[in-house]
């Protein structure tokens, strides 16, 4: 099957800045894929290149088998992009904007049923005839997603779709996006909310300084850090010296101001040793919690050390 996205040896320079350094990436059809990385890692540059908003210095990009530059019309038909910024046309209402957007892709009145469905699923029914200018930030975000979907593209790219969005809307968006994914749409997501990527995405690429430093299934990435963590609340007492080698680094929240200590466990059996040491030091444990490594740990580990 043709991959949804295929990127080969992609380089992008902005003057002296080498923003993307030879990216190779294949995303299969139907995947829910996350692109993670700190600010300036090159995620948005990569998305803008896919969307044809930027031109590559070197390398190839294809959407559903269509070269983004040579077969740009086919590639753009296959792609919907939700931009990061809340941009809108102040002259029109939501339904008009969606009809125009679909029209740019050659779709007419026969597409109205799909537009109605998108409007309803994104909770925009009451606002369909409201001018874009008058929508709240959350509603504008929904309208942006609707605009990207107006021509029913098989591949949908969401660039930070839940930035500044309340919990209720976030849930609604994800339910809808998950439904699209179940129906066969390929979803590519960039987000700063790592728990979203962990919950939703089957595969993740982590970027740093224009390079992909990790590309694997979410589970394999989580397995990279087999360690578990033990969080102890000791009140006013300090951690015995014998346990200090187990403390997580400060960057990963080793010691909290609230008197909480987080220790890294190579094996669960170490818990007995830790509790024995605390008993010997006559320290009363106020609270204790065993924590699995999450994507944030993997992210910090990879981005901090790669």
């Amino acid at each position: 099957m043709t991959p949804a996205i295929k990127i080969e040896q992609l380089h992008k320079h902005f003057g002296d800045l080498h923003a993307l350094k030879g990216i190779d990436l294949t995303i299969e059809q139907g995947e829910f894929f996350a692109l993670l990385g700190p600010n300036g890692a090159g995620k948005s540059t990569l998305i803008n290149l896919l969307a044809g908003l930027l031109r590559p210095t070197q390398g190839k990009l294809a959407v559903m088998g269509f070269d983004v530059n040579r077969q740009y019309q086919q590639a753009r038909h296959a792609l919907g992009v939700v931009p990061q910024e809340l941009v809108f046309d102040p002259f029109f209402n939501v339904r008009e904007m969606l009809r125009f957007q679909a029209g740019y892709f050659g779709r007419g009145r026969e597409n109205d049923a799909w537009i109605d469905e998108v409007i309803e699923c994104l909770g925009l029914t009451d606002k369909a005839h409201t001018n874009m200018r008058r929508l709240s930030g959350g509603m504008k975000r929904r309208a942006l997603i609707a605009q990207a979907l107006a021509h029913k593209p098989p591949v949908l790219v969401l660039d930070e779709p839940t930035a500044g969005v309340d919990v209720e809307l976030r849930q609604l968006l994800w339910e809808f996006i998950k439904r699209l994914n179940r129906e066969g749409h390929t979803i590519i997501l960039t987000t700063h909310y790592l728990e979203e990527a962990e919950t939703l995405c089957s595969r993740i690429a982590m970027m740093k300084q224009g390079e992909i430093v990790a590309l694997d299934s979410t589970q394999n990435l989580l397995n990279r850090l087999p360690e578990k963590k033990l969080r102890l609340k000791l009140g006013a007492a300090t951690l015995p010296a014998s346990l200090k080698p187990l403390l997580l680094s400060q960057g990963r929240g080793g010691i909290q101001e609230s008197g909480e200590y987080t220790l890294a466990l190579a094996e669960v059996t170490q818990i007995e040793f830790i509790l024995a040491e605390l008993r010997n030091a006559q320290i009363k444990v106020e609270d204790i919690q065993l924590i699995e490594a999450d994507l944030e740990d993997v992210f910090v580990d990879l981005i901090g050390h790669a």
């Binding site: 908003l53 086919q74 931009p83 740019y104 050659g106 007419g108 605009q147 098989p154």
Partner: protein, 263 residues
């Protein structure tokens, strides 16, 4: 998920047609500003200049100054509004950021150009025609060569519409666009013979006027009404047509290169 691109190719004309419709609706939604205001301004010019000069100036034999002025004002407003349509749409979209919705579409550079151009021509013609209709309430204006009037109106508004696309691509803020309008478009229109015949100018300034393409648009357009002009209409039409195709070619080249639109 199945994806059939060929199905959409059949509707390819719908894409530029949609952009054209959107651009029309954009100016029509604010028609007080885009149509009524320029008509009002032209009428004020007409009232003031005709009141002051009607009794003192006769540019062509048998043509009063007020009648002489009307085609000039029509063409001036038509050109300025054709320019404003494409340039303001692009600069607003760039500043607001919503130009991204256009750049993400499969519209080709030629389709983009034609849609912006057609909408500019329509706005120019609507403003020009409105001024004509209102002016008809005060004075009876002859129409000697209607096809010539139409040709100059369409080519002139097309030329300025294309120029507006260039300005909209180049400018990054409203200030730069205002400079374009106030330091290029405005002087060229005011110094093109809207209010006078270039034969009333000293020989040096007559020569300078011949370098101004706006002069040919106004003189040729006026010829269509009175059958009289400062130069032969064939020359004016040739200059305007060559200018239109040159500016259109330049605009298409900029759009194709992605200059200031695609990095």
């Amino acid at each position: 998920m199945s994806f059939n691109f060929r199905r959409f190719q059949l509707n390819s004309l719908r894409a530029p047609w949609t952009l054209f419709k959107k651009e029309l609706l954009r100016f029509w939604r604010v028609s007080f500003q885009t149509v009524a205001a320029p008509v009002m301004t032209a009428l004020l010019y007409l009232l003031i200049f005709s009141h002051v000069l009607e009794a003192h100036v006769q540019v062509y034999p048998g043509v009063g100054y007020t009648a002489f002025l009307i085609p000039g004002l029509m063409m001036m407003s038509l050109l300025q509004n054709a320019f404003a349509n494409s340039s303001s749409s692009l600069i607003q979209s760039k500043v607001m950021g919503n130009i991204v919705f256009l750049l993400l579409t499969p519209l080709s550079y030629l389709e983009l150009f034609l849609a912006f151009l057609a909408a500019s021509i329509i706005r120019g013609l609507v403003v020009g025609l409105s001024i004509y209709l209102v002016a008809m309430l005060f004075i009876d204006l002859p129409i000697t060569h209607p096809w010539l009037i139409l040709a100059f109106a369409v080519l002139g508004s097309g030329l300025l519409g294309a120029f507006g696309v260039i300005a909209g691509i180049w400018a990054e803020k409203f200030d730069q666009m205002a400079a374009f309008q106030n330091f290029i478009i405005m002087p060229l229109t005011f110094l093109s013979g809207v209010f006078y015949s270039i034969h009333s100018l000293p020989p040096f300034w007559q020569q300078v006027s011949h370098l101004n393409p706006f002069f040919y648009m106004i003189d040729g357009f006026r010829y269509g009404f009175f059958g009289k002009g400062d130069i032969a209409p064939e020359i004016s039409l040739s200059v305007v047509a060559i200018s239109f195709f040159t500016i259109s070619w330049l605009t298409l080249s900029l759009l194709k290169s992605g200059y200031k639109l695609r990095g």
